[in-house]
């Protein structure tokens, strides 16, 4: 009996053992298969996740780049050959007027501008605007700007548009009107104050926006300065802004420029600007912007005191349409006007009205009418009527504009 039990136990255990071995074998096989699946998966993943890019590709670091095109069709009651001779008494004599934009009756391609921006490193940003006129290449601006200085300081260096006044810094394509305000055109010419130099700006740590800036520039602008035997132009300004309620913001500025003119004597320019903007909705606003500039220019033979202002009102109706009107004039013209004897040199002024149509934020059609009472042509005051349709586009990666 005992033997039988032992025998049967033996058989049973060997049977069990066999069964166990089979089970283990099967498990092993399963594991093997699983590992195979895993390893094929892994290798395919590896292939996907390994670096497949070109070895020296730097595409991710390309600067933002945009093409800005500006063109116009002009109708004017003065011949092109006459218009070229236009003078502004006391400021710009016959033949000295520089017309980079919208000069011709008929069609004008004003410029193709290549605007670039890139972060250089954790400390600098770089900007450049290359102006391509039909027969000319110009570095409009090219500068670096710091991003991480302490105490709210920022330094800009290179060739740039000065932050003097309100409109000086802005590019032609972002102006509310295509033509430059008379006082800017007469004091600085078409490029405004744009020069090689350095700028330092500081924002006060207050609830109200208060910004103070100083600039040292070469002073190459011959209309007001022009003695560039060394860096001779110094600019300072103070800007502040407050909000009244949610929707009305007021921005004001005081600016001062001190330089040396071509007679190597001092030129001082004072500027006051005020901008009110009432936001009427997401796409609708009313903007009233005005600037007054006075220039005191010492010359070997005389002392000039000249001033002027512009004031413009722009009603943005919706994201497609906006309407605007501007008045600009010369308010003071104490200078040698003997070359204009017999010519009325008072009340140099201009009226402009416009309608903008923007099908999309990147394109703009602008129809404007200008009644210009500021020009003398061929020794006579000549009032000029002008109707212009201009088209401006910004294609590509063009950053948002400042306020």
């Amino acid at each position: 009996m005992k033997k039988r039990i032992i025998l049967s136990l033996l058989i049973a255990s060997s049977l069990f053992a066999d069964a166990e071995i089979d089970a283990i074998k099967e498990q092993l096989q399963q594991q093997k298969e699983a590992t195979l699946v895993m390893s094929t998966k892994l290798s395919s993943l590896e292939q996907k996740n390994t670096n497949q890019s070109a070895s020296f590709s730097q595409n991710a670091y390309l600067p933002d780049m945009a093409l800005i095109l500006n063109m116009s069709a002009v109708s004017r009651d003065v011949e092109n050959s006459e218009y070229e001779k236009a003078a502004m008494p006391g400021f710009i004599d016959e033949g000295e007027m520089n017309f980079p934009f919208n000069k011709n009756r008929g069609f004008n391609l004003n410029y193709a501008e290549v605007a670039m921006h890139s972060v250089v490193d954790p400390y600098f940003e770089a900007f450049a605007n290359f102006h391509l006129h039909p027969n000319e290449f110009e570095i409009g601006e090219a500068y670096v700007q710091t991003t991480s200085l302490p105490y709210s300081l920022r330094v800009k260096a290179g060739k740039f548009k000065s932050s003097f006044g309100r409109i000086n810094k802005k590019h032609q394509h972002s102006w509310n009107f295509d033509s430059q305000p008379l006082i800017y055109k007469t004091l600085f010419g078409p490029d405004s104050i744009s020069d090689a130099g350095v700028q330092l700006q500081w924002i006060a740590p207050t609830d109200t926006y208060i910004m103070f800036g100083i600039e040292a520039m070469q002073g190459t602008n011959g209309r007001s300065f022009g003695d560039d035997s060394k860096n001779n132009l110094y600019i300072a300004y103070l800007k502040s802004s407050i909000d009244i309620g949610d929707d009305l913001s007021v921005l004001g500025g005081l600016s001062y420029a001190h330089g040396k003119n071509t007679d190597r004597k001092p030129t001082d320019i004072y500027g006051v600007d005020l901008t009110l903007r009432e936001q009427l909705g997401s796409y609708s606003s009313l903007i009233w912007q005005s600037e007054f500039l006075q220039r005191n220019k010492e010359l070997t033979s005389q002392r000039d005191r000249q001033a002027g202002l512009y004031s413009e009102l722009v009603y943005q109706y919706n994201n497609n349409y906006s309407f605007g009107a501007r008045y600009d004039c010369i308010t003071k013209n104490e200078t040698d006007l003997s070359a204009y004897s017999g010519v009325d040199t008072d009340n140099l002024e201009r009226y402009t009205a416009k309608i903008d149509y923007k099908p999309f934020p990147m394109s703009r059609l602008r129809l404007s009418y200008t009644y210009d009472r500021s020009k003398v042509i061929g020794g006579e005051r000549k009032d000029i009527n002008e109707v212009m349709l201009s088209l401006n586009i910004a294609a590509g990666a063009h950053g948002a504009h400042d306020y």
Binding site: V119, I203, I210, D243, A400
Partner: protein, 292 residues
């Protein structure tokens, strides 16, 4: 006198101890307040009554950003048209892109509607996908966690409090979502059209289907041709809801409604756009309007 001076000093240090946080929109601001509590001083740059793509970069905002310790933005291209010049003009090293005090929430969000190809010929398309994720209440905890991680990084001394704030808020939000889901379950009519693709995240969350937009392309004003096509689609698909936002013109939506019998409902795109005072009220208002 000395006591008063001391008190004043103590007070000013308390005031300056709070982290100054600027957020681009209200919903982000409200979530930051939940996590930061009185350890943060939150200000919102863009008013929710305006189109979030077109906030005016007022100089007064520069004064705010100049003193900020942290800037929290929505990202996904929504601020592209107004924030960069403000960051550039604020002269504040803390909040530059890549600095410690800069937080782009979209980097934490599973974005939808990511286009396979991008051109301005398709209108104002965001290459990164639809940036209006904050309309989905399920994104709130994700946003809250991202904000907490950033606050910890900037202010490690108060780790405990940020953690407990997040815990409390997450619990409260879980309970709220259960209630909201229950409410949304009762909704049967799941067909809508919208003005702009503002509500895709909310609609997707609750299985709605959007059949089209009033604007023919993102950022392009309605055209008669497109409006007629939309009217036909509404009739054909028996759509009864037109989702309008607070800031676009409402004429076109009303016209479409009059031709189709569909109903125009104004949905807030951000907390406060409809006067809502807190996060729960904001999302409940969306639900209430969609689901009647």
């Amino acid at each position: 006198m000395k006591k008063i001076l001391l008190l004043l000093l103590a007070f000013t240090t308390i005031v300056s101890a709070a982290l100054r946080v600027e957020t681009t929109y209200s919903t982000l601001g409200a979530i930051t307040e939940e996590i930061g509590g009185d350890l943060v001083n939150v200000h919102v740059l863009g008013s929710s009554k305006y189109d979030p793509h077109f906030i005016v970069p007022k100089p007064s905002l520069l004064a705010k950003l100049r003193r900020a310790d942290l800037l929290i933005m929505n990202g996904g291209g929504l601020e592209l048209g107004w924030l960069p010049p403000l960051i550039r003009g604020a002269n504040n090293a803390n909040i530059q892109n890549g600095a410690k005090g800069f937080l782009d929430i979209s980097h934490y969000i599973p974005m939808i509607d990511v286009p396979t190809s991008v051109s301005r010929g398709f209108g104002d398309v965001h290459a990164q996908g639809n940036p209006h994720y904050s309309t989905d209440p399920y994104m709130v905890p994700i946003i809250a966690r991202a904000i907490m991680a950033k606050l910890l990084e900037l202010d490690p001394d108060h780790e405990q409090r940020y953690h407990s704030n997040l815990e409390k808020f997450s619990y409260r939000w879980q309970k709220y979502l259960e209630k909201l889901d229950a409410k949304m379950k009762q909704c049967k009519d799941k067909k809508v059209v919208q003005y702009h693709e503002l509500f895709n995240y909310f609609l997707k969350r609750y299985n709605y289907k959007s059949y089209g937009n009033i604007e023919p392309l993102p950022g392009i004003a309605p055209s008669s041709k497109h409006t007629i096509a939309l009217i036909n689609s509404i009739k054909k698909n028996k759509i009864k809801l037109i989702l309008q936002d607070v800031y676009h013109e409402k004429r076109t939506a009303k016209f479409i409604a009059s031709k189709t019998g569909a109903k125009v409902i104004v949905i807030p795109h951000d907390m406060g756009a409809d006067g809502s005072k807190n996060l729960e009220e904001y999302y409940s208002n969306i639900a209430k309007k969609l689901c009647r």
